[in-house]
Symmetry: C2
Subunit: 198 residues, 2 copies
DNA sequence: TCCAGAATTGACTAGTCAGTCAAATATTCT
DNA sequence: AGAATATTTGACTGACTAGTCAATTCTGGA
């Protein structure tokens, strides 16, 4: 079968993408260790050797996914941030963006969670992942300067914000009714906001 | 060598405890899958067969640890709770207890975290684990009745409180200076409290 | 002391999985 | 076209691991 004969046209480089997409799906519901590379390649429609042609090791594949998702998440957090002039506005927008992204990308969120709690994480990837989020420190810092945020340890604020929003998304994800879900998201964001405002 | 000759007197039933303690330590820093049963038995000073004499499978061992730690954590959360008369007092005490326990038992905290994010968790253990925490729902409910807590979804409040405190402990754990650490804990608890109070 | 059952041992098994490699196929360049 | 290079394949290997089991040792009671 030649690609120009197929319904599923797949250029050669797309195999790499197919592997990444399949890996994400499988990792999210079976975990890193519960997902053999053989299964990834099978579900992606490639041979085992092909997977190792594109990724030197399984860990490389995981790290690659991590960096990619982390970068995408950082980008999503920034959506519309420039338009907000006040620190308060920026922070509110940030929270909204975070929740929206988490709700829309459950597999990616799960992956990031698993990665963070996994003991076999390459320190390098961990570090590069965080580098995308430096701008958050600035926003928090500005908020404190403006006096709209309580003067607390910025790293603590960052940790607690992230954790609380994570909890919020987990809770909101199990609520089926869209109206109720929106109400819960609003309540959750209020929780975060009240926690940090002066 | 007979036990009465040894400096490390170890009655027969203590092997079970030795296995559990060793497993906790190893799981906490290598993860479930990164810790072979052979290593657990070796470090606990027993034969491989002995481990499987006390625990039918590796998963049984993990579940057992989980139930035990969960029960202990629930107990720790309750310390001094009876003495508090108001909902506000109870909730403040609760937060303090949670942080204190998390800081004092990093391995157990890590274990619970890993367990929660592990995809191969027995639903039974998960359920029994939660059963120890039903009393929290009541406290939250009382707080809302009293009017000291904002009227929001109790499950959401529970999720976010747990997540935020978890984030707080993570952050506080990396701070070496005791004074600064105490300040951060106080700030963190304020965050949680401000998030939920009316 | 002797026995029955509980506890303990560690060599062994059966299976799994990450990663290799030589051969085959496709693509690009001249 | 034909050579050179890039990609793809899947059978295979070597390492590792959960769990077994027959044999041995320990323990408490008669």
């Amino acid at each position: 079968m030649y690609s120009w004969e197929s319904d599923h046209v797949q250029s050669r480089q797309d195999k790499r993408e197919a592997i990444l997409a399949t890996a994400l799906r499988l990792f999210a519901d079976r975990g890193f260790v519960g997902t053999p590379t053989s299964l990834i390649s099978k579900e992606a429609g490639v041979a085992t050797g092909t997977l190792f042609f594109y990724f030197k090791t399984k860990e490389d594949l995981i790290d690659d996914l991590y960096k990619r998702i982390k970068a995408e998440a950082a980008q999503a957090l920034c959506r519309g941030l420039k338009m907000e002039k006040t620190g308060k506005g920026k922070l509110r927008r940030l929270g909204n963006n975070a929740v929206t992204w988490g709700m829309r990308n459950p597999e990616k969120k799960k992956f990031l969670e698993m990665f963070a709690h996994s003991p076999f994480v390459s320190a390098g990837a961990q570090e590069e992942g965080m580098s995308h989020f430096i701008f958050l420190k600035d926003i928090i810092h500005d908020g404190i300067q403006e006096g709209v945020i309580r003067d607390m340890d910025p790293a603590l604020l960052f940790c607690m914000m992230a954790a609380a929003i994570n909890g919020l998304v987990s809770r909101a994800s199990v609520v089926k009714d869209p109206m109720e879900r929106d109400r819960i998201i609003a309540e959750g964001l209020d929780f975060v906001w009240n926690g940090m405002k002066t």
